[in-house]
């Protein structure tokens, strides 16, 4: 049995409210909050980036499972805000965790789904007998151009997932759906991403998430009723809500994973942050549908079944508690934290 052996999360403590951003641009904050279903987003400290948040999340994952870091033989960091354009983030993480020098390592980039691709690679490597444990991290300090619609949701956070044998949550099956769909991109050397506006919806997010989820269910004989929880990538709160109802999942089944409402879109960490919110309370035997989405575009769907091992696994501090533990900042401090003013 191969699956998730441990998980760790990191959410920076700072938040900015939608009202504060809307104040800058003379926009109607209530309309924005209603449209997105998001009221605030997490903001990193001035000395935090994708590498530091990756380390914090990974340290939590390692300490919870009491795994010797030397047994982690693969590290993948999925992000679209790697601190370097050339030089891996994953080597910084490996050094800080003390995994030694004999490990597979790469940075991954596939917009918001790079970390679920990392989980698939780790899963395959454990299955092939190449490694004991693999660590896949989704971490982002998401960029947004001031005044762009993305500014209301582009947040920061990290999730680390250790994949191995004897898991707390078995990965029963995984399927991917990929196509060349330019819905959101950032050109080389550009500081901020661009997007296709409404084009990011039906041909991008909905097509990929639904196709991956349906293929997983068809191929492995699941129906929506077989899942106790579902979690989808969360660019805002409306998209996952709508896709859940399209696939036949009630609001109750997705509520525990809807971290986007409290912290915004953590990009590469987004769907996994939701998964961790669910794993924090899930009981043995319960099954979770996880579907990520990465612009460009692709979705990875997973059927994950919680095992008895979760009962002896320490699940504090919980993700929702971390989301609620915060300090609010104004737009000026936000610009300073995001280093838009130096």
């Amino acid at each position: 049995m191969i699956g998730i052996v441990s998980y760790g999360t990191y959410i920076p403590k700072f938040r900015i409210r939608v009202e504060e951003i809307a104040r800058m641009w003379n926009e109607d904050s209530n309309a924005i909050k209603q449209g997105l279903g998001v009221s605030e987003k997490s903001v990193p400290d001035i000395d935090e980036d994708t590498a530091t948040m990756s380390v914090e999340a990974s340290r939590e994952a390692i300490s919870r499972a009491k795994i010797d870091p030397k047994k982690i033989e693969a590290i993948f960091v999925g992000s679209e805000s790697h601190p370097y354009a050339v030089k891996p983030t994953a080597t910084i993480v490996g050094e800080a965790l003390g995994v030694g020098n004999y490990y597979f390592c790469a940075d991954l980039e596939f917009a918001c789904k790079a970390a679920t691709a990392g989980i698939q690679i780790c899963f395959a490597m454990v299955k092939a007998g190449m490694i004991n444990y693999g660590l896949s991290i989704g971490s982002d300090t998401a960029q947004a151009k001031p005044g762009d619609a993305l500014e209301y949701t582009a947040a920061a956070g990290a999730v680390a997932v250790i994949v191995g044998k004897d898991p707390i949550a078995e990965i029963e099956a995984t399927v991917s759906y990929t196509s060349d769909t330019p819905d959101f991109w950032r050109r080389d050397l550009q500081p901020y991403p661009s997007h296709g506006g409404r084009f990011t919806g039906t041909p991008a997010y909905f097509r990929h998430v639904i196709s991956a989820a349906k293929k997983l269910m068809e191929s492995y004989g699941y129906t929506a009723k077989d899942f106790d929880f579902a979690v989808f990538h969360q660019p805002n709160a409306k998209f996952p809500q709508r896709v859940a109802s399209m696939l036949g999942f009630s609001e109750e089944k997705i509520a525990d994973g809807m971290l986007v409402r409290a912290i915004g879109n953590t990009y590469s960490a987004s769907s996994l942050m939701g998964l961790c919110g669910i794993l924090d309370k899930a009981q043995p035997g319960q099954r979770i549908l996880l579907v990520s989405f990465g612009s460009g575009a692709g979705s990875d769907a997973f059927a994950i079944r919680v095992t008895d091992k979760i009962l002896e696994y320490p699940r504090n501090a919980k993700v929702w508690d971390k989301a609620k533990n915060c300090v609010y900042i104004d737009y000026g401090l936000y610009l300073k934290h995001r280093r838009m003013i130096k």
Binding site: P12, D47, E48, D49, A51, T52, K87, I92, L97, V327
Partner: protein
């Protein structure tokens, strides 16, 4: 600058101390010989725990720099992110130290977070 920082990575990322088996003291940064036992000392490398308390601090150019004592007695001088007072418990955190301009490398290392401010 690059090799100078690279040499420090090992004890800035993970806080490694020298433990003297002869006198039982921990030292940070690591030492070649035990400052107390001198040649009688037998040093070995040991990791510190995640927590410590602030012995003293100062504020320099808006940054709070504290002398932190770990539970094993090793002491470290590092930045604290957040409000601090003497005796306050802190947790170690991995943060950016700085960067060498727009083209140079990024320096990472250990800083501290006051416990009630951790998340």
């Amino acid at each position: 600058m690059v090799p100078r920082f690279w040499r420090k990575i090992k004890y800035r990322y993970e806080i490694l101390t020298s433990f003297c088996e002869n006198c039982g003291n921990h030292y940070y940064p690591q030492r070649e010989i035990c400052p107390k036992c001198r040649r009688e000392g037998v040093l070995k490398e040991e990791k510190v725990c995640d927590y410590g308390k602030v012995l003293s601090y100062t504020v320099v150019n808006g940054r709070t720099i504290a002398l932190v004592e770990f539970d094993n007695g090793a002491k470290m001088l590092a930045e604290v992110c957040g409000k601090v007072e003497i005796g306050k418990k802190v947790r170690k955190a991995f943060r950016k130290y700085g960067e060498d301009g727009d083209f140079g490398i990024i320096y990472y290392g250990t800083k501290f977070i006051p416990i009630e401010e951790q998340n």
